[in-house]
Symmetry: C2
Subunit: 238 residues, 2 copies
């Protein structure tokens, strides 16, 4: 076991890591919002900021992984504390991937608007899923910040709603394309954006699962959530 002094030092180091993870979380949230703004109104400056910001997010991932390793080597945490660090390492990976997805949205938005190919009401198609996912990401980071296990549990059910909405968007886009093949190019861009949003929802769900893992000491990945519409989640067919 660690002595009192060492334990305080451990808490201090862990708190520094957690603050930086939350900083990273705030950065990818902003990336996502900026990318959606560009998708909505074609603000190219905004898209370029998202793409630039991704370098900073990537650097934070490398730094944070390194800090977690150092913490383990120096403080030799017991099982409980190690669980927190392991979950943090996984959360960092998910945040980095959210940054990647936001960057893809920004690139697609830039390309769509530069071609002037707006022949489906592209933003309206994804407005609902974008808002739901943005809320979910925000709540997941909040649950992580406060180690709030109840909030995390609620979020996991939310992901099935996003998957459902995603499939509904796909059906609508297919109808558009069939009715007017000139919309195909814009519809496909909208489809990739919807897909990236749905992925961000998956990552937010992962973060919620790690919060539960830390608080409950129970790994709920790959287990069926009670009371959730699992039939929806299971028949998911991208």
């Amino acid at each position: 076991m660690m002595g009192e002094h060492s334990s305080k030092q451990y808490d201090h180091d862990l708190e520094a890591i957690r603050s930086k993870v939350l900083l990273m979380g705030g950065m990818v949230e902003t990336q996502f919002l900026d990318a959606m703004t560009c998708f909505r109104i074609g603000n190219v400056e905004r898209a370029e900021r998202v793409i630039r910001e991704d370098d900073a997010v990537n650097q934070l991932e490398v730094q944070l992984d390194d800090q977690c390793s150092h913490l383990i080597v120096r403080r030799q945490p017991a099982a409980n504390d190690l669980r927190t660090i392991m979950a943090t390492i996984k959360v960092i990976t998910d945040l980095e991937r959210i940054g990647d997805e936001a960057t893809k949205i920004a690139r697609t938005a830039k390309s769509l608007h530069s071609r002037g190919a707006v022949t489906v009401n592209h933003y309206e198609m994804v407005r609902t899923i974008a808002t739901a996912t943005s809320d979910m990401l925000h709540d997941a980071l909040d649950a992580f910040a406060r180690n709030d296990h109840n909030q995390a549990l609620q979020l996991i059910a939310q992901d099935a709603v996003i998957d459902h909405e995603f499939r509904s968007i796909m059906r609508n886009l297919i109808t558009f394309m069939m009715e007017d093949p000139r919309t195909i190019s814009a519809a496909l861009d909208t489809m990739w954006v919807a897909k990236a949003i749905e992925r961000i929802g998956d990552h937010a769900k992962n973060i919620a699962e790690y919060v539960i893992y830390v608080v409950e000491g129970r790994d709920i990945r790959h287990s069926k959530p009670a009371g959730v519409a699992t039939d929806i989640a299971e028949t998911k067919e991208i």
Copy 2:
């Protein structure tokens, strides 16, 4: 520092984990091949095996994460050894995601063939990317098994080729859809399959990067590979 006895025990535990990771790697490789067979010839049995197998892969992920945690707590590894464990934890996550992508391919293949909607030569469209990705995954697991840093370096360049091929498939599919809107549904299924394959390539690349991280002690994620067609990788716009 660990004593000789403890160090031998550590090596033994680590070897057990590595063997299990390679078992998991073999499982997801088979999942991918089976999913592609179903996509090619509509073998529903094969698709259902992929979907079933995914549970076993998911359970392995949870077990392996647990074994890695136990190893850290019991053996309190020094920085070098910890690097190997950290990389292993990340590789496990990538393998699990490869299983997810293979499962998505299997579901899409089943759905495509059950609708009888085969109006594009769907398998021919993805044959090249599927073969390249399958080779890449195999080589990445091989590099991990043998800690082969040179093989891993070569693989990273390979990913840009896969991304390039993916964009070429997209262009072809868009042409098909525009020329004959009746192909839209099958073309979209083919698109999602190509996307899943491209993701598997990304995960194989991640595995190669972790091999380099272990061998060289250098984190090359997010750094520009020398001599690789970075312009291709960077202009990726999907």
